[in-house]
């Protein structure tokens, strides 16, 4: 999905940085390395809160690479840096909460044949063909959060449920989305990604027109009426 030639967008830089951090933490935690376990414990406490509220976590999240000027990307502006750091903070703390006392890696990359986006993860908490209203409502509420602090709080509630159900999530993808979220119009973009992810979950691979099975009953296809 990433094109090699195009310059790396700030969103991609955020997502990659998150992926690197989380992979290291996840490896360390599953290996029971005390440093990683301790880091996760501290990060967990920040879950659902804004970065500024917890200065002691700043040292745990190395945002240095964001400040480096790379060959394939332009330097980030001050505003981009702030949003990138906030997104990283929220994503990493949510991951830490998600991973707590789980013996397998709760962060898994989203792939076309194995959807791990937020919408898909929420959907996997429901029975096939049914919508669990309270769970569904949490995703809807996350989608309409007015600001990042509220969004972080609502995502925290979802992650708690995911941990309980042992359902994985692509936290790096989420980090990128959290970055995009903070820009004008970004919330809409992210919401649509979550929505598509939610609805992509139940598609059957062999049936190319899987969507139409559902749409039959809801669409009123016009037969274009003639003027007669």
């Amino acid at each position: 999905m990433t094109t090699v030639t195009a310059p790396v967008t700030p969103r991609e830089r955020v997502a990659r940085l998150a992926a690197g951090h989380i992979a290291a933490l996840q490896r360390g935690y599953l290996d029971d390395q005390s440093h990683a376990v301790a880091s996760l414990a501290r990060l967990r406490r920040g879950a659902g809160r804004e970065a500024g509220q917890l200065p002691d976590l700043w040292a745990l999240i190395d945002t240095g690479p964001l400040h480096e000027t790379r060959d394939d990307a332009r330097p980030l502006s001050e505003r981009e840096l702030v949003r990138a750091e906030d997104a990283l903070h929220v994503a990493l703390t949510l991951y830490a909460l998600h991973q707590q006392s789980r013996r397998s890696g709760m962060h898994q990359a989203d792939r076309p044949d194995r959807r791990r986006g937020l919408g898909a993860a929420v959907r996997r908490m429901m029975k096939p063909g049914e919508i669990d209203h309270p769970v569904h409502k949490r995703l809807v509420r996350a989608g309409t959060a007015p600001d990042l602090a509220v969004l972080a709080q609502r995502l925290r509630d979802i992650v708690v449920l995911l941990r309980r159900e042992d359902i994985q999530l692509d936290h790096a993808l989420l980090a990128g989305q959290l970055y995009t979220w903070q820009w004008p119009g970004g919330a809409d973009t992210v919401r649509r990604e979550w929505g598509r992810s939610f609805h992509a979950w139940h598609d059957k691979p062999k049936d190319g027109a899987a969507a139409s099975a559902g749409s039959d009953t809801t669409r009123t296809t016009d037969t274009d009426k003639d003027a007669s």
């Binding site: 989608g143 809801t218 003027a227 007669s228």
Partner: protein
């Protein structure tokens, strides 16, 4: 004939000879406008772009009048060979001058004995003379504010009056009219409605080309045109007895008769300065039903109600134009052949205009080059309340290469028609999206649906017309069609993105709906997914360059997830 003054002859009697006095408004090839006499129109036809009317319907009526003159003066054409000689001959209209000289007595607008398109001495019992509003169609009845001629038409020049006289026979409204003396149909001084002027029944279609000369020739159907009946004795009104008051339905004899059909009886009141009043009554009414073998300038449709009522099959009525629908969307009815439409023994639902059959024949027989560009010009009036007012006038055109009309090589026409189908499909998908977004937001669905469809058709129109005009540039109509599908995908896809963004929070929140296979969360994301799937299914996946940046998550078959057990 020597003239002593502007509008009279040597006896001081007023005269306005339409064969020599300017009265037909034209647009020249250099872009200037002017007024010409009948004779001049034919002399200069190669240098004129087209007739311009005070209204589009007037142009249609005048073109038909010119065609009647041409059929007469050129005596035919009898067949395509004769037509082809005319097409090749730059001076093909030369005989018109002599012909007009021969009949000029019937082309005097002010003649006391046989005024052009009028009835001498026509009067009502009380000798009333009516306002010219009755024949000037740009003064809507009862709506005097919607015209430049506030509040009434006091006077017309002779030239202008002549145009409205021609127009009145073609497009006059129906309704109760004052009974004229000598009309047996009058009851209590009134004649009850007998229908609109003949052309008012039609969804008018004619072929337009680069010059008026070509336009007139292309619409000059040969006498041997299949399924078009033109009697030997077919004659225009000026070769018939001058009409008296009243009238009766009779069978038309052919195109010359129909192009100059006298649906009204009228008489202008005038003085040296111009025309100041009119007497107007009903003339020869003509029912439009089953005239497909006589009237070439309209498409026809089957009428099930009429078939039921008359207990016969099929019954055809003229296919009128829908003002809400742009011409390109009706292209199918214009270019599809009857053979394609008719399945088995069932009569065709639509018949395309004979005027197009005629041009199709010219292409098929090689008289016209395949890339030759023509415009199907579409003009029609839609009448309102009791047919007593003109509500709307349709004036549109579709440019296309004549190869589209080719009777054997159907590939181009099929792709052109299918391309309209592509547009319809995409617009339907967009309409569904609008409906589903509204449903997700819990709001009323019809408004958003129809406005989304309107916008989409509006945005597709110009690209389609451009595409169609260039369809014959290539040897591969199928490749052109694919390119068109990609264009539609791009245009309508972007509209869909905009709709989804505009739908906002409410549509994102959505609602839980019951579908066949279970419960589903209908929100903007799902509506968008269905939309993309419908576009993909109908139009194929476009080039990646046409894809919006976030479309990678849409449900393409190869990336669909296996549901966990």
């Amino acid at each position: 004939m020597p003239e002593t003054d502007q509008n009279g002859n040597s006896d001081g009697v007023l005269s306005f000879d339409l064969t020599t006095r300017p009265w037909i408004p034209v647009l020249r090839r250099d872009g200037t406008q002017g007024e010409l006499s009948l004779r001049e129109v034919f002399e200069q036809a190669h240098d004129l772009r087209r007739i311009v009317g005070d209204l589009p319907t007037q142009e249609f009526a005048l073109v038909r009048l010119l065609l009647a003159v041409a059929h007469e003066a050129l005596d035919g054409p009898q067949d395509t060979d004769a037509w082809s000689d005319l097409w090749a001959d730059e001076n093909c209209f030369a005989p018109v001058g002599a012909y007009l000289d021969q009949h000029r007595g019937r082309f005097d607008l002010l003649s006391a004995d046989a005024p052009f398109f009028q009835t001498a001495g026509l009067r009502t019992a009380k000798d009333e003379v009516f306002s010219l509003n009755r024949i000037v169609a740009d003064v809507p009845n009862g709506e005097p504010f919607f015209t430049a001629r506030m509040p009434t038409v006091e006077r017309l020049t002779f030239a202008e009056a002549a145009r409205w006289v021609v127009h009145a026979h073609a497009y006059d409204t129906s309704g109760i009219k004052t009974g004229v003396e000598g009309d047996e149909r009058a009851k209590g001084g009134k004649v009850y409605p007998l229908g609109v002027g003949w052309a008012g029944n039609l969804g008018g279609v004619f072929i337009e080309s680069h010059t008026l000369r070509e336009t007139l020739l292309l619409n000059l159907v040969a006498a041997d045109t299949p399924n078009l009946e033109i009697d030997e004795a077919d004659a225009p009104v000026w070769r018939r007895e001058p009409s008296g008051p009243g009238g009766a339905e009779r069978a038309p004899t052919g195109v010359r008769d129909l192009y100059t059909w006298q649906t009204r009886r009228l008489r202008l009141h005038f003085d040296e300065m111009g025309v100041h009043g009119v007497v107007l009554g009903y003339g020869d009414p003509l029912t439009a039903r089953d005239r497909q073998h006589r009237e070439p300038m309209t498409a026809w449709r089957r009428s099930k109600p009429q078939e039921k009522k008359l207990r016969k099959t099929p019954v055809y009525l003229p296919r009128e134009h829908d003002p809400e629908r742009s011409a390109w969307r009706g292209l199918g009815a214009l270019v599809a052949t009857e053979a394609v439409k008719a399945q088995g023994s069932e009569p065709a639902d639509y018949l395309r205009p004979k005027i197009l059959e005629w041009v199709a024949r010219l292409v098929t027989e090689g008289e016209l080059e395949r890339g030759f560009l023509v415009r199907a010009r579409i003009i029609g009036a839609r009448y309102g309340t009791q047919q007593s007012v003109i509500d709307e006038i349709v004036d549109d055109h579709v440019s296309m290469a004549v190869v589209l009309l080719h009777q054997q090589d159907r590939r181009y026409a099929e792709q052109a028609v299918a391309a309209v189908g592509d547009a319809d499909l995409a617009v339907n998908a967009l309409g569904d999206l609008a409906t589903n977004l509204a449903r997700a937001a819990g709001t009323e669905t019809e408004g958003p649906r129809s406005s989304a469809r309107d916008v989409a058709y509006g945005l597709l129109e110009a690209p389609y017309r451009t595409w169609l005009a260039h369809l014959a540039d290539t040897d591969d109509p199928y490749a052109q069609r694919t390119a068109w599908q990609q264009q539609v995908y791009g245009i309508v896809g972007r509209l869909g993105d905009r709709l989804m963004s505009a739908a906002g929070d409410a549509a994102w929140q959505g609602r839980i709906v019951q579908l066949k296979h279970g419960t589903e969360w209908l929100n903007s994301a799902l509506a968008g997914k269905w939309f993309r799937a419908a576009l993909y299914k109908g139009l194929g996946r476009p080039d990646s360059s046409h894809m919006p940046p976030d479309a990678d998550a849409s449900p393409a078959p190869e990336t669909i997830v296996k549901a966990p057990a």
